[in-house]
C-alpha cells in the first residue's frame, strides 16, 4: 500500500530525510524515532503535503502529491495542536467530510465523532478543547472519509491512559480491516502497545524495519542478555563459560546470574541440558534486552 523508494528531503542545507526506502502493507506499523528524526517530514511526504527532494513516494499506487483524488483515500492526523478554533467539533469534521465529497456527510460526521469518544452535539468551540480532545477531533476529521491509509503523527500525545487505550484499540481495528495505519511516536511504551512492526528512524535515516523482535535477533554483533534464577548460580556460570555459550557472566544476587551471549539460539537450546548436568534447578530464564527499548537504544546509540 505504501512504497517509498530512495526518498530524501532537504530544507536548504538541512537534510531532514536521507535515502529512505521501505514498503508497507495493511495493518498497524509504528514509526519510531526521537524528536528530529524525520518522522513528521516522512509523514508529510507520504500524505502529499511535501514533495521529496529525491526519490519517489507511492501510496495506493499513486503519487499523493499530484493525484488529488488519492487524497480522498488518505487520512492524516498532523502533529500540531492547532485547529479551526472558531468551529465546533461537528463543523470541523463535517467540513472535512463535505470537502472530500463524502455521501451523507452529516451522518459520517456523527459516526466519526462518536468513534473517537467525543460528543457530536457539543456546542463548545474547539478553542475551548483540551489537548486530548483536540487530538480526538483531529482523528475524527481524518477518519470521517473512511481512508484506506491513515497517517498519525504523535496521536497519543495529551491523552489520558484510558483514552490512549481506546485510541490504540481503534488503530488496531482500522488496521485489522485491511487498511494501512502508520503511527509515529517517540514514546517507546506507546509503540510497544501499537504492535511489533516498526520503522525506526534516526537522524533522517531509516535504521531498521520489521518486527522489532526479529530486528533484535539480527543484532548478532551485540550480546543478548538473559537473567537466570537458579539454586546453583556458580556451577551454571562455570558450565556456560566452559561450553563457550557466554561471553560474560555476572552473579550479583544470591540465586541468580546474568549471562551475555552472542548466540542466543545455541544458548537457549543448551541451557536446560547444562543445568541438568550441573544439578542446578532452573527457576527462571528471562531475556533482558529483547524489548523495543533495547533495540531502539542500540540502533540510535550503538549501545
Amino acid at each position: 500500500m505504501l512504497e517509498v523508494t530512495r526518498v530524501s528531503k532537504r530544507f536548504g542545507d538541512l537534510v531532514a530525510v536521507s535515502d529512505v526506502s521501505f514498503q508497507l502493507g495493511s495493518g498497524v506499523t509504528a514509526l519510531l524515532g526521537p524528536n528530529g528524526a524525520g518522522k513528521s517530514t516522512m509523514l508529510r511526504m507520504l500524505s502529499g503535503l511535501a514533495a521529496p527532494s529525491e526519490g519517489t513516494v507511492r501510496v495506493l499506487g499513486g503519487d499523493p502529491r499530484a493525484d488529488i483524488e488519492l487524497r480522498r483515500r488518505i487520512g492524516l492526523v498532523p502533529q500540531q495542536e492547532s485547529l479551526y478554533e472558531h468551529l465546533r467539533v461537528r463543523e470541523f469534521v463535517q467540513l472535512a467530510a463535505e470537502l472530500s465529497g463524502v455521501a451523507d456527510a452529516a451522518a459520517a460526521t456523527e459516526r466519526a465523532i462518536g468513534t473517537v469518544g467525543l460528543d457530536p452535539a457539543d456546542k463548545r468551540r474547539l478553542s475551548t478543547y483540551s489537548k486530548g480532545m483536540r487530538q480526538r477531533a483531529k482523528l475524527a476529521s481524518a477518519i470521517v472519509t473512511g481512508p484506506d491509509v491513515l497517517f498519525l503523527d504523535e496521536p497519543l500525545t495529551g491523552l489520558d491512559p484510558n483514552q490512549r487505550n481506546l485510541m490504540i484499540d481503534l488503530f488496531h481495528r482500522i488496521g485489522a480491516s485491511g487498511r494501512c495505519v502508520l503511527v509515529s511516536s517517540h514514546v517507546l511504551d506507546e509503540v510497544q502497545r501499537l504492535g511489533t512492526d516498526v520503522l525506526v528512524m534516526g537522524q533522517g535515516r531509516l535504521l531498521a524495519e520489521g518486527d522489532f523482535r526479529r530486528i533484535r535477533d539480527l543484532m548478532d554483533d551485540r550480546p543478548s542478555r538473559f537473567r537466570i534464577a537458579t539454586d546453583e548460580p556458580r556451577a551454571l556460570a562455570a558450565g556456560l563459560i566452559d561450553q563457550g555459550l557466554a561471553v560474560g557472566v555476572e552473579i550479583h544476587e544470591p540465586g541468580a546470574l546474568t549471562v551475555a551471549t552472542v548466540s542466543a539460539g545455541r544458548f537457549a537450546a543448551a541451557i536446560a541440558p547444562l543445568a541438568r548436568d550441573r544439578r542446578a534447578s532452573l527457576q527462571e530464564l528471562r531475556p533482558l534486552d529483547a524489548d523495543l527499548e533495547s533495540v531502539f537504544r542500540y540502533l540510535l546509540e550503538g549501545r
Binding site: 500524505s47 500540531q80 485547529l83 470541523f92 463535505e98 472530500s100
Partner: protein, 232 residues
C-alpha cells in the same frame, strides 16, 4: 454546494471572527463617513472636487489598500502561521476551488467593511465611488491573496509594496502612475480637470481592464502557489 462555495463560507466566517481586525476596519470606514459628513455640513460645504480629493487620498490610497492587505494576505497567511492550512489542503478539491472561494470571502469582507462605507461617503460628498472602490478592492485582494500563499512575510512585503510602489513611485510622474492600481481606480472617481493630488487620466476601458487583469493574475498566482505549497 460546490467546494469553492464551502471554502467561501468557511473563510468568510474565519475572517469575520477576527474581532480585532474587523474593529480596526470598521473604525477606519466609519471615520470616512464621519469626515464626509463634516465636510458636507461645514461652512459652504465641500465641492465634489474637494470630496474626491479626500476620498481618493483616504479611501483609495489608505484604507482600501491597507485594509485589503490585512484581510486578503491573512486569509491564507493566518492558516499558514497557525499551521491549519493542512486541513484544507489535504482535501480532494481543485486548487482553484480553494483560491476562488478564499478570494471571494476576502473580497466580501473588504466590500462590506470598506467599499460600502466609501460608497456612502461618496454619496454624501457627491462623488461616485462605487466603480473605483470596487475595482481597487478586486485588484488588491487578488494580489494580496497570492502574497499570503507565496511569501513568508506577506504583510511586510504588502506594506512595502503599498508604501513604496503605490505611493512613492506612483507619485513620481504620470508615466509611473500608470503602474499603480490606485491611479486606475481614481480615474473612475475623478472628473476631467479635477486636481486630487494623484495622477489620473486613465481611459475608462483601461480603468476597468487593468485592475481586473491584476486580480486575475493574482488569483492565477495563488492557484499556482496552492498547488506548489509545501504544507506544514
Amino acid at each position: 454546494m460546490s467546494n469553492a462555495a464551502r471554502v467561501f463560507r468557511f473563510m468568510t466566517q474565519k475572517l469575520l471572527r477576527d474581532w480585532g481586525r474587523v474593529a480596526v476596519l470598521v473604525v477606519l470606514a466609519v471615520l470616512a463617513i464621519v469626515i464626509a459628513v463634516v465636510m458636507r455640513i461645514s461652512d459652504g460645504g465641500a465641492t465634489p472636487e474637494d470630496g474626491a480629493g479626500f476620498l481618493v487620498w483616504y479611501g483609495l490610497s489608505i484604507i482600501l489598500p491597507f485594509g485589503s492587505l490585512l484581510v486578503a494576505a491573512d486569509a491564507f497567511g493566518d492558516l499558514r502561521d497557525e499551521r491549519t492550512l493542512v486541513y484544507l489542503w489535504l482535501r480532494p478539491m481543485r486548487a482553484w476551488s480553494a483560491t476562488a472561494g478564499t478570494a471571494g470571502a476576502a473580497l466580501t469582507v473588504v466590500v462590506v467593511l470598506l467599499v460600502v462605507p466609501l460608497i456612502i461617503a461618496g454619496l454624501i460628498l457627491d462623488v461616485p465611488m462605487a466603480d473605483g472602490a470596487l475595482l481597487a478592492a478586486v485588484a488588491y485582494v487578488g494580489v494580496f491573496l497570492a502574497f499570503g500563499l507565496l511569501l513568508s512575510r506577506p504583510l511586510l512585503v504588502g506594506l512595502l509594496l503599498l508604501l513604496v510602489w503605490e505611493n512613492v513611485i506612483g507619485s513620481l510622474s504620470a508615466a509611473t502612475a500608470r503602474l499603480t492600481i490606485r491611479s486606475y481606480a481614481a480615474s473612475l472617481v475623478v472628473e476631467e480637470g479635477w486636481d486630487v493630488g494623484t495622477p489620473v487620466g486613465r481611459s475608462f476601458v483601461a480603468s476597468l481592464a487593468v485592475p481586473l487583469a491584476v486580480a486575475a493574475a493574482g488569483l492565477l498566482l495563488a492557484t499556482w502557489g496552492w498547488r506548489r505549497a509545501e504544507v506544514a
